[in-house]
């Protein structure tokens, strides 16, 4: 009840802010002014409909619903490697390789037909979920989402491209995740830490270290940072 009221306030605050920004932008009677007004439009849309434009009302499957609107956490991080594009893609597309640099993962098992089983170390017990590859363009992109019924909703993509006239490879990760349930949500928060962007950044650093040098540097025994 209280939450609903809060949502109402949030929505109408959004509309009010958006209206103010649109009014300000248009009052400048200039191209930048129009641009400012335009950027406020999604905010107004969300205020009125309750969802960000583009994510609203698409399909009915669990993952998409769980991650729609402003639900879930979004992370975007990238890294550049001095390793050929096809090598990076080939390494990444073998899902069993992922735990070698994603330190919070225990294992990823390829179940065939684009499906995979993921196990991460949670507080006292492992957290598990299944995912399916929904997009795989060799040397360009791998996209996945969790399968309906999983405790954890996650979707994401890894984009591969070249830089510096083809001498370097760039990897861009776009990850969204949410944990609808209480216990699973806590476990997920533990697994990913307080700052998921930090975790992803470190994972990307590790894959770069592994592919460039063959090892992940460490100053002491035990798992790398």
């Amino acid at each position: 009840m209280l939450q609903d009221t809060a949502h109402e306030i949030e929505r109408w605050t959004g509309v009010a802010m958006a209206t103010a920004v649109v009014a300000y932008g248009l009052s400048r009677r200039s191209l930048p002014g129009v641009a400012i007004a335009a950027t406020a439009a999604p905010l107004a849309y969300r205020g009125i409909t309750g969802a960000w434009p583009g994510f609203a009302l698409h399909g009915a499957d669990a993952t998409r619903v769980a991650l729609s609107g402003d639900r879930g956490t979004h992370v975007r991080e990238g890294i550049r490697l001095e390793v050929p594009l096809d090598v990076v893609y080939a390494f990444w597309s073998r899902l069993e390789n992922l735990p070698r640099f994603m330190t919070h993962l225990e294992s990823v098992t390829d179940l065939g037909n684009g499906r995979s089983h993921w196990v991460a170390q949670g507080p006292g017990m492992p957290v598990e979920w299944d995912a399916e590859i929904i997009n795989d363009v060799p040397n360009k992109v791998i996209g996945w989402r969790s399968i309906e019924g999983s405790d954890i909703a996650t979707a994401g993509s890894v984009h591969f491209s070249t830089a510096r006239q083809g001498r370097s490879t760039q990897v861009l990760v776009h990850l969204r995740y949410a944990a609808p349930g209480g216990r699973a949500a806590n476990a997920l928060a533990y697994v990913l830490g307080r700052d998921p962007a930090h975790m992803i950044r470190e994972d990307l650093r590790h894959v770069k270290q592994l592919l460039e040098t063959g090892e992940i540097p460490r100053a002491t025994k035990g798992a790398p940072a």
Binding site: R80, E82, S168, H198, R201, E202, R205, K208, Q209, E212, T213, G214, E215, I216, P217, R218, A219, T220, K221, P224, A225
Partner: protein, 390 residues
């Protein structure tokens, strides 16, 4: 094994710690035969370097014998005699490929800490805080060397430890400082600080074709060494007005290049130096850049200021306006060790230079606590301490 460990500001102890082990495939373990205390170790000793922890093994200038190698290290063999660069570099990242070895992207496991402070992280360093990787240092009987198929340089038996030990840091650091000056024949180079890096910068400036080098310090033995060993002209800043003297010595034009081999703990007798002291003592500033300010102001128009001295934080009253007005070039950073070591070894082999000229104290590892004190206070005419662990 025995190792020199950090326990806090002004507190260094020799402790028994576990022997290092091979942790990664390209590692090597070195039995240390000679190790030195660096001026930058005094920054740690003085409490200026953040992210040091109690018990950290100190030391980044060391050499010795390879006693173990990892399974993927195909370059070193047990028994090899090597000097180890203080910066750790992987050899395969963008920066290593560009010869910017001290900016290696992969060797610092705690890069994210440095990134919070500096935007991006430089390479990992031996015995120089957790922000730089938390690697145990070489003031110990043994040390683990990561990426040991890239860094360590084999040295011939014909050269003594004392002749090659300083390839681990101060000789290449002084050399890069001079190389950064882009010296042209006939140039005059002024060097602030006549510690080991300053001495090697003076030597290297002459090696690279400088006509005159003017050395600035206040300790008679350091000025004497610069004058006698390297034929530098010397200025005692406690006795003369340095900017005035530099103008006179250069016909009013100023030195073509200035080297700040002092760094963040600069002393001085002028107003700004006391201001720095007051601010840093109240934690209102992190560094005391007196020498750097003077170097920037003294440098001729269009000249180069080269900074091998270490800085760590945010500088106060930094005269960027003067640097801009005079169109100066500023060059700085940790030494790209791997770029210089083979070439400087050749100079030593040819007899162009015997780096052992800076050594004033030769002791065992147990004397480290006393020597840190002696070196910091520059007691007993101390310029360079070399320790033999066994």
């Amino acid at each position: 094994m025995k190792a020199v460990c950090y326990y806090g500001k002004g507190d260094v102890r020799v402790e028994t710690v576990p022997d290092p082990e091979i942790l990664n495939p390209r590692d090597a373990i070195i039995r240390v035969t000679a190790t030195a205390i660096c001026g930058s170790d005094l920054h740690i000793y003085g409490g200026y370097i953040p992210t040091m922890q109690k018990g950290d093994v100190l030391g980044h200038e060391f050499m010795g014998e390879v006693v173990d190698v990892g399974p993927d290290n195909h370059r070193l063999k047990i028994g090899d005699r090597v000097v180890v660069p203080f910066t750790i570099a992987c050899g395969q990242c963008f920066f290593c490929k560009e010869q910017l070895w001290s900016l290696c992207d992969n060797s610092n496991p705690n890069a994210w800490v440095a990134e919070k402070l500096y935007g991006y992280s430089a390479s990992g360093l031996f015995g120089y805080s957790h922000m730089y990787g938390g690697y145990a240092g070489g003031q110990a009987e043994y040390v683990r060397v990561p990426f040991a198929d890239v860094g360590p340089l084999r040295v011939p038996d014909s050269l003594r430890d004392e002749q090659v030990l300083f390839l681990s840091d101060v000789f290449p650091t002084g050399f890069m400082a001079a190389e950064n000056c882009q010296i042209q024949p006939g140039d005059t180079v002024a060097v602030w600080g006549c510690g080991p890096v300053g001495q090697f910068a003076i030597q290297s400036a002459f090696l690279l074709g400088a006509e005159r080098v003017i050395a600035i310090d206040r300790f008679p033995e350091r000025l004497a060494l610069a004058s006698s060993f390297s034929r530098a002209e010397v200025l005692d800043y406690s006795k003369v007005d340095v900017p005035q003297a530099l103008r006179e010595l250069t016909g009013g034009q100023g030195p073509d290049a200035c080297i700040d081999a002092v760094g963040l703990e600069s002393h001085g007798t002028t107003l700004d130096a006391w201001y720095d002291r007051a601010k840093t003592s109240m934690y209102l500033a992190t560094d005391r850049p007196h020498a750097l300010r003077q170097a920037i102001n003294a440098c001729r128009k269009g000249g180069t200021v080269s900074i091998p001295g270490v800085y760590g934080g945010w500088l106060d009253k930094f005269p960027l306006g003067a640097a801009f007005a005079k169109g100066l070039t500023l060059k700085m950073g940790q030494t790209h060790m791997h770029r210089y070591m083979p070439r400087l070894l050749e100079h030593i082999e040819r007899g162009d230079i015997d780096p052992s000229f800076i050594i004033t104290h030769r002791v065992g590892l147990d004397d480290a606590p006393e020597m840190y004190q002696t070196f910091r206070e520059k007691e007993d005419s101390c310029i360079k301490v070399v320790m033999t662990p066994s």
